[in-house]
Symmetry: C2
Subunit: 458 residues, 2 copies
């Protein structure tokens, strides 16, 4: 049976013989007895297996190496020692899969850089047992939040010829033999490729999501997205997952309500379902993590315009690396200041239109757009959303102003011709959420097999 089943029903199994399968995470041997830290990965806590000279096959058991896969028969009992409530007395033990002495994942402190080099083994390490279980639970929290509220989960396409982020940031996909790309008159002959036109893997499902929102009112996407950015920072990866809800009959205020409610729901869910994992992360990764998450749930989210933020920044008695300016973007140092100033999450609304995307609704002032970024203490921007321009003529004007390629998105514009409606949406980078939830700093450590420039292993 699996460890999780055993521990869930402790009272039932206590002192009865059961069989477990799993791996040796650690092994402390004494002359006359030994302790094995055992895990099958179905729960965060390992189980302490105990044996002594009376145990069948004492010598064989005491020679079992870290990493080995074993089958143990024995009984769960109240622990005599300190440090754990229960322990497992081995009656017999069999090695199912041995592990050599040079197993890379020895029970000692490894650097995260080293663990990335063995990404196929690192899920067995404590840190990644915690991070990837939280990743799984956070995904479920998101699905639960939206499905309970009647949102339709829309699988928007990955391969696309239209994109709201701009083609220069997108990977091309092709079936061509790269050594012999077919050319006609010096140009690539895409009529010979599978889709008969240039195709990309998407950076966003928003455009198609909007089409679904005009049919189901409330929808969300949750899938992989891609950027070609050649940048080696802690926060950039070339492949990452995004959640993009889109809601008809919802304005900017409404979308902020949803963002706040959703984030509190996710954090509450993780606090409930990943207690052991959070305690570990709080101890070894981010001191105060549990406190941070608990405070988020009961915090008030400030709502303030970009213009007001700039005024606050300008009035602050602080020497800025980047001088805050009306009509311009804000820097990381400003984000940090403003969440500290309000001592909590801050929605910054109504951004200068020139630094935001073409599909956002221009406000009546003609200078700003109905966009919102959510700034979270210690993380910075966690989500970005906007009310979409629902007026056909105004949208076309923006598309012309911003030189967006019209041809591939004519269908998107047409949504404004056929029963257009006020609608809004936002994007949540799943990995940025996980960095917040786990305290882990590097995006490479919250993605099972990260893809970054020069790195596409496993």
């Amino acid at each position: 049976m699996y460890l999780k089943e055993l521990m869930k029903d402790v009272e039932k199994y206590l002192d009865s013989e059961v069989t477990l399968h799993g791996w040796v995470r650690n092994h402390r041997r004494q002359k006359d007895f030994g302790f094995i830290a055992f895990s099958d990965g179905t729960q965060f806590q390992t189980l302490q297996l105990v044996y002594d000279q009376e145990t069948d096959g004492f010598l064989e058991i005491s020679s079992i190496r870290v990493g080995a896969c074993i089958e143990v028969v024995g009984i769960l009992q109240k622990s005599i020692g300190s440090g754990q409530e229960y322990e497992f007395k081995i009656h017999s033990c069999k090695i199912l899969g041995d592990c050599p002495e040079d197993y890379p994942l020895q029970p000692k402190q490894h650097s995260n850089e080293f663990l990335r080099s063995i990404a196929y083994l690192r899920p067995r390490a404590n840190l990644f047992q915690a991070v990837f279980r939280i990743r799984s639970l956070a995904a479920m929290a998101i699905h639960t939040y939206f499905q309970e509220r009647g949102y339709v989960y829309a699988h928007t396409p990955l391969i696309t010829t239209a994109d709201c982020e701009g083609e220069d940031q997108m990977f091309k996909v092709t079936t061509f033999d790269m050594e012999h790309v077919p050319m006609t008159d010096g140009r690539v002959d895409y009529s010979k490729d599978l889709f008969r036109k240039p195709a990309f893997i998407t950076g966003s499902g928003q455009l198609q999501g909007e089409a679904f929102a005009t049919a189901f009112s409330r929808i969300y996407t949750f899938g992989p997205t891609f950027r070609t950015e050649n940048s080696n920072t802690k926060t950039h990866a070339n492949e990452f997952w995004m959640i993009e809800p889109e809601i008809a009959f919802c304005d900017l205020e409404g979308v902020m309500d949803i963002q706040e409610d959703m984030l509190k729901f996710i954090v509450t869910y993780i606090l409930k379902h990943a207690h052991d994992e959070l305690v570990f992360l709080d101890k070894f990764v981010e001191k105060g993590l549990l406190d941070k998450l608990n405070r988020l749930v009961s915090s008030t989210f400030t709502r303030i315009s970009h213009e007001e933020v700039i005024t606050i920044l300008k009035n602050a008695e602080k020497k800025w690396e980047f001088e805050p300016a009306y009509g311009e973007d804000i820097a990381k140092e400003h984000e940090k200041f403003i969440t500290e100033y309000f001592d909590g999450p801050v929605f910054i609304t109504d951004w200068p239109k020139d630094i935001k995307a073409w599909y956002m609704k221009v406000n009546e002032d003609g200078k700003t757009v109905a966009a919102v970024d959510l700034e979270i203490p210690g993380v910075g921007e966690l989500m970005g959303g906007s009310q979409r321009e629902e007026d056909y003529d105004k949208l076309m004007k923006r598309i012309d102003e911003m030189n967006v390629d019209k041809e591939s998105i004519d269908w998107y514009c047409n949504l404004r011709k056929f029963g257009t409606c006020v609608h809004s949406g936002f994007g949540l980078g799943f990995e940025r959420l996980l960095i917040y939830l786990t305290g882990v700093e590097n995006i490479r450590d919250v993605i099972p097999f990260p893809r970054t420039p020069g790195s596409c292993e496993f």
Copy 2:
């Protein structure tokens, strides 16, 4: 408010004035009164709005066109007419987004081919309101099934340099300018591409899923996969979603238990949560759909070996297009016969090793592998699974025999060196499941924006 909220709490809202936003799906006008079939897409059933000459703005309301987006204020009341339990009496109505006379989605019978050509509008049609809501619910059913049982959801990478399906079926991804692919000595110089090596978008997450199964015991993937197949059939698409569970300490029998249990869970979930949608599909798409699904839940799944299947086929008094033969694959006509023969789902096990994949465990006979295909009446193969070869030496032998490229999967093989264990998994094509659940025949009609050869619109 949204329609779903109103109808969920009918008793509370009956006879009180409320405001709704949504679209006009149909409009029947009489001289003195009219009926509007109204939907905001939050439930399958439309709401009948009624108005008459007493209603404020009678003339304006009676001129509202199909497809328009409206705001209506009025009261929900018990319907006097037949055909519906409730109707909504309009007090006032405002057009939020008008819709022209030439709106392509008029309320009449459209061919599925035509609807594909307006894929950005078709989610508003009844058929796709049903199909895509079931798609969303089925996804949730799958997450619920696995998460309730403690499986970890693993986001395996999309961009990959390793693949278990073979590179010739995979899309290449690149950041190169396709007109000027950098060459060195007549070969593509991949050191200049973002990942510094040839990269693809994946056809399966199984290999990385196995790595996770040796850490968490029970995991599942659920994400998009890709094939370059240039084939225009009802069952092929170049982009589709797959679920790939992988379970440690589980053999072929165990994996069949899980497949059967999971499928019954999903069908039960859909029967419960998509009743109106199924009734519609039963009436207009597949007669007997509801009965088929209800029978599945209580049916017994037969388990039989490939060899026994061939014997049954050979003994059948039937003229085959393809003669059944020991050691060879079976054809669609055989699949059909065998599910009819057993009058229910059939697990076919222990396939000839030469027609199956390299990672499957070779049985003791040396001729067959521990693989299983699940055949479902009326659909054919719905899932394929296998016990994986967990022995390093045996795996390497198969890899050599079948000329698999070793280099990119050395890490995968190493899983057999470090505490190897018996493990099994299976793949479920999400679209094939949806074809089964909805009765819709063409894969293009269960994918929001399908990608097939020559077709990558929207």
